[in-house]
Every structure is written in C-alpha cells, then in structure tokens.
Amino acid sequence: MKQQATIATASAAVTALVLSACAPGSGGDDETGAVATPQAVQTDPAKMGAVTLTVWDQEVRGGGNAQFTQQIAAFEKKYPNITIKRVSRSFDDLTKTLRLGLSSKDAPDIVQANNTRSQMGQFVKAKQLIPLDPWMKAYGWDKRYPASVRSVVSYSPDAKTFGSGNLYGLPQVGEVVGIYVNKSKLTSLGLQPPKDWAAFESSLATAKAKGQTPLVLGNLDKWPAVHLFGVVQGQYVKPDQIRALGFGNAGASWTTPENTKAASTLVSWVDKGYLNKGFNGQGYDPAWQSFTKGQGLYLIAGTWLQADISKAMGSGVEFMLPPPAQAGGTTYTTGASGQPFAITSKAKNPDAAAAFINFITTPEAMRTIAATENLPVVDTADQKAPNPLGQQVFSAFDKTTTTNGLLPYLDWATPTMSDTIGAALQDMLAQKATPEQTLSRLQKDYAAFTSQG
C-alpha cells in the first residue's frame, strides 16, 4: 500500500513537472527583444563612460589571433574607459555554443556569427542581432565596404531574404576560392598559365597525358567538393541565378540545363582521371599538404590556405582566379567575407559595441590585418602583403570584389543545404548518382526551404 502511494506521488510529481514546463524557448525573458533602433547614434567612445564589452570570437589561428590581440590593445589604449573581455573559441566550438550563448540571460555584446542561414539567418529571425544601419550611416561603412561584401552580411528583418536588406555584421577579412598553381610543374609541362577557361581545361588534359595529376582534391570531409563545383558553376550559370541559389532566395532552380552542364563537366573530369585517385577518402588537410609536396598541377581552394602554402612552397606556387570564359572577362567565383562581427540585442551598450567594430575595420586596422598575414576585406589592393603569393591573393580578391564577381557559398542557402550538397556531390563524384539525380536532390532541399515563404 505504502509503496503504491509513493509511486503514485512520484508519477504525479513527474507529470506535474512535464505539464508545468512551458514550450521550449519561452524561457522567461520576453521575446519582444526587437530592439528599437536608437534615435541618435553616439560615435565618440570617450564619452560613453565605463563600459565592458564581452566579445566572442574565433580568431584563434596564428594570423587571426595576432591581429585581433593587437587591435584590442590599441582600442583599449585609445579608449581607457572601455574594457574588452575577449572569449576565443575555435570556429567549430563557437558554432556549437553560440546558439545557447545568445539565448542566455548573460549574452555577449559582440559575436562572430557565420553568415549562413543556419547561423546568422536564424539569429536575425529570432531577433537576437540588431541591424547596424544607423551606425553604417554614422561611420560611413557603406562607403568603406563594396556592395558585394555588404550583401553577404545583409538580411531582411524577418530573415526571409538573404543578400539584401539590413546590415547585420561587419567582417574583417575576405575569402575567395581560386586556383593554386605549381609553377615548376607548369613549366616542365611546357604550359603557360591559362588565360581562359578553354586553355585551363586543355592544360588539365596535357597534365594527365604526361602522367601528372592535374587537380588535387581531398573530399573526405564532404564540403571541399562544394568549392570545386562552385568554380565550375561560375563558368556556366548566370551569376544572379547562383546568388539566388546560394542565398536561398526564391526565384531560381537547380535543375536547369546550365547547372546540368556544370555538374556533368565535373563528372567528366573524374571520368578523364583529372582528379587524384581516392579523393573521397582523402582528408582536406592531407590533400593540400600533398600538393605542397609536389603532387598535382592545380589545387582549387580558398585564400585561407595562403599563409600555409606560401610557407611550404615559397616562390614555387602562384595563385590565380579561375580563368574567365574569354581572356580578360569577369571571373565569377565562390567567395565571401570571413566571419562578420555582429551586435547582440542584449548588448548593454550598442554604441560602444559599434565603436569597437568600427575601430577594427578602419583602413588602419586593415593594414594590421595585412601585416599579420590575413586577407583584409576592403582596400585590399592597397595593402602590402608579407610575401609574393599574398600579393597575388590580395589583387585577386580586390578584383573579384570590385567587379562584383563574388558568389555566395552554395551551402549557405538553407539550414540543411550544407549536409545535402556535401553528400550529394560526394555521391555524384563517386558516380553513385548522375548529375540529374544530384541536381534534383539539391532542388528538393532548396524548394522545400524557399516554399516556406
């Protein structure tokens, strides 16, 4: 009897607990956190009194850490009334903790949030970031940053449109996917650096015929093939189509003849043996490392590898943008900003936060960024790179941003696209799926998301 009573009491308690717990996410604080845009923006940090800003960043790698440490020290020296409390985590760790961090009561003031719909998009939708437009006008960020860079950090207030609308973050560094060329290999094959796409493809054939691996890819981690596909897609598909697909905005389609052409071109490269054997089982890092050790003529990869590759190969390597269809034409290629800095809606002093973001993106800050072997996102061509490869990277990035040739990462489109496109391209390159099947798989993901309206 007694035991039964205990069990009954316990289960009643459990039931009560479940019933009393409200819907997840409604945890106490009001959800009307849509911060009203402050009327007057204050731009003189010296007059803001004692402020402590908590910054969550992912600048943990050599160059990134060096520049960010210098910037913070310079800022605190100039404005002793403002203290920066820095919390650094690796990119992966920040991705995992940001969601909880932003919804907690003690949220940071400034965070580095990935541009993607699965991160920044969702934070904007949940009204956890504030639009930076008032400060953009006050500080002239719209003149400092070209349109193509501002677009990758812009969302509509409901996050339905990506690529335009309000400004939600400012990046410090840029990224662009291009081609690393093994110079001595190119010379020994009797080739010139290709000036147009046809010459590029024929150089792949020449390398293969002479027993070399034309292209190095390490696709074990799934995402590297997305960058390879992005480069080929830039050749065959109209840029505004790719932007709609990459931003996850309605109005485009994956299952078009142009996309099919791009996908089947890539498959034909596999057929012709242009890629290293076993690329789906090769890790990303071992792949580019084998390129620096002399395997392969080309490596299609992003500028983020520049410092490491330069260190390993010195003057034996060159960086170029994917050659355009006609020599001298515009190159369209995947690229973006690095992780933008955004202000949270729980920031206690948004003016001070904006002042800090302004400080780390001034032309002077860009010089520090360049000097510490990073790729500054604005005024890139004017900066002095620490080595010749860096200078090529700088001018390549400057060229794409000023000609509006930057295309968004394809996995930004929907919260699930990263996984969908990674697995789909792995299947396609392993010839487990045809280009048509692959594209309709991407279309399904894209359409399911855009139809939510």
Binding site: T6, L17, A23, G25, S118, N280, G283, P415
Partner: protein, 300 residues
C-alpha cells in the same frame, strides 16, 4: 509502553521507510537534477518543432514520424546495427579466444600481455580516430602495407569507398573493444575452480571440449557485462564517425548519435534531434534488457 515504541522496536532495520528515503535523498536529488530532469525535458522538447532560439511550436509525434519515415535517419539506425557486429560480436569471439589461450597457456608475463590488449581502451576515441584516419588514407599505412606484400591492387581510399567505409569504421571499434572484452573474460576465467579442469582432463576432454563445457558457462556473467558495454558503445558511437568520415561517403556511415549532433547544432532542428535521442535511448534500453535476459538466463 506506548504503541509507537513497540512498533519501532519490532520493525525490521530501515523501517519506517521514510527514514530510508532520507538516506537516499542526496543521491536521488543529484540523479534527478542531472539525469531524470534532462531526460524528461528532452522527451518534452521532442514533441515540439523548435530551432533552439525562438519559441517552439507543438508538433505532437511529427518528429518521431520523421525518425521512422526519413530514409537517411532510418539508415542511420541500420548502420548502428552493423556497427554492433563490429563493436560487440567480433570482439566477443576474439576476446573469448584470446582469453582462453592466455588463461590456459599460463603465458609468462601474462600481466604484460593483458596490458597490451587493454591498451586501446586507455586512448581517447578521438585520438584513435585521428590515427586510423591516417592509416586508411589513400597514401596511408594500410595501402603501403598492401603494396609491400604485393597486394597493391587491393589498395583504395578506404573511408571514401561506398562498400567498405562502414566496415572500415567498424574495424576501428573492433580494435578498440577487443581488449576490454579480453580482460573481462580473463577475470572471469581466473575465478574458475582449477579442480574442474583437472576432472575434465581425467575424463579425457581436450582443450576445445574444456572450453565449451567449463569455461564458457562459467563466464556467462562476464559475457553479459561485456556485451552490454560494447553494444552500448556501438549504439552511441559519435566521435569515431565525426572525426573519420562525417557520415560520408554520401551518408553511408551516419549513425544516430551523429544525427543528434548534426540536427541540433548544425541544422537547428532541436525537436527532431531530441526525438532521435529518445528513440536511441529506448533502443539501447531494449537491447540491454534482451542481452541481460538471454545471457544471464539460468545463471541464478
């Protein structure tokens, strides 16, 4: 003499029960706060459509329906079952054989060999995974070894091969768990009365007969423990898949625990992730229950 004092004196130790609860209370509180409450909360969230940021909307059993119907998620559970063979089945057979040999042969320096087979258990799974990723790489040691013995044609990118990626991941588990099973079995066999073996030998039993007639029944309890541990390890595999393949090639090696992480932290489908987690918990409960019932039956 009052009624109450007589009752107290005649009651068995631990009575009245309320006092017993008092003793257990600290442990129960900790258990409730850190295990039961999160479990109940996860079960609750699994009934919502929630992105982890905004207010969730009631979804009923939709998330569970998706777990049952989505091909990718269903095959993730299928892959976990395959991994069970590699994590639990093969190590059990290998461990029993190794332990029987080590136990019977009275090997000199038994402690040394025991340590060697147990060594993988000491290494963190992430380190194991990083090391094996190098071994399986197209230019890794496994392919080098194959070409050294003239089998270079068999070489391939193991973790990128659609047919072999899952077994390749599973073999890492076999390598990892065999030591644990062996040591458990050795402990069990050490308890067996030597006289039983002598009697069997007098009756003319060979080593194989001895093993099946005496050793195997004697370590029934250890087998149950080993199976429970390794099967749970197989079902909750996450780090191994995360580091070696990220679920690839395609989705050939994705497993439920990886999907929980992926849905919750990468996609932002926290409700669905909780539903997968709860389903996985139920599956683990059911399988452990079956193992205990089957292996320990008649042991009492």
């Amino acid at each position: 003499m009052s009624v109450t004092s007589r009752a107290r004196r005649s009651a068995p130790p631990g009575e009245p029960r309320t006092i017993g609860w008092l003793y257990a209370a600290p442990a129960l509180l900790v258990y409730g706060a850190f295990l039961l409450y999160p479990l109940i909360r996860a079960a609750q969230i699994s009934l919502y459509d929630w992105d982890g940021l905004t207010v969730g909307t009631w979804a009923g059993l939709d998330n569970y329906r998706q777990v049952a119907q989505d091909d990718g998620l269903r095959s993730a559970f299928g892959h976990a079952l395959v991994l069970m063979v590699f994590f639990a089945g093969v190590p059990l057979v290998l461990g029993l054989a190794l332990a029987a040999v080590l136990n019977r042969a009275k090997v000199r320096g038994l402690a040394f060999f025991r340590t060697v087979v147990f060594l993988p258990q000491v290494i963190a799974m992430v380190v194991v995974a990083v090391a094996w990723r190098r071994i399986y790489a197209p230019d890794g040691s496994l392919n080098d070894l194959l070409s050294a013995v003239g089998l270079g044609d068999l070489g391939r990118a193991w973790l990128g091969d659609y047919a072999l990626a899952l077994p390749a991941v599973g073999l890492i588990g076999t390598w990892f768990e065999t030591g644990l099973v062996t040591v458990l079995m050795l402990a069990g066999m050490g308890r067996v009365d030597r006289q039983l073996y002598e009697a069997a030998r007098l009756d003319g039993a060979g080593p194989v007969r001895e093993f099946f007639a005496i050793t195997l029944p004697a370590v029934r309890g250890e087998i149950s423990v080993a199976l429970t541990l390794t099967v749970i390890a197989a079902l909750k595999t996450f780090d191994l898949v995360y580091v070696t393949t990220k679920g690839g090639p395609g989705n050939e090696t994705s497993v439920p625990s990886y999907e929980v992480y992926h849905q919750a932290f990468e996609v932002g489908a926290v409700g669905l992730a909780c539903a997968i987690g709860v389903t996985l918990t139920v599956v683990i409960f059911a399988i452990s229950f079956v193992i205990t019932r089957l292996v320990e039956r008649g042991d009492a």
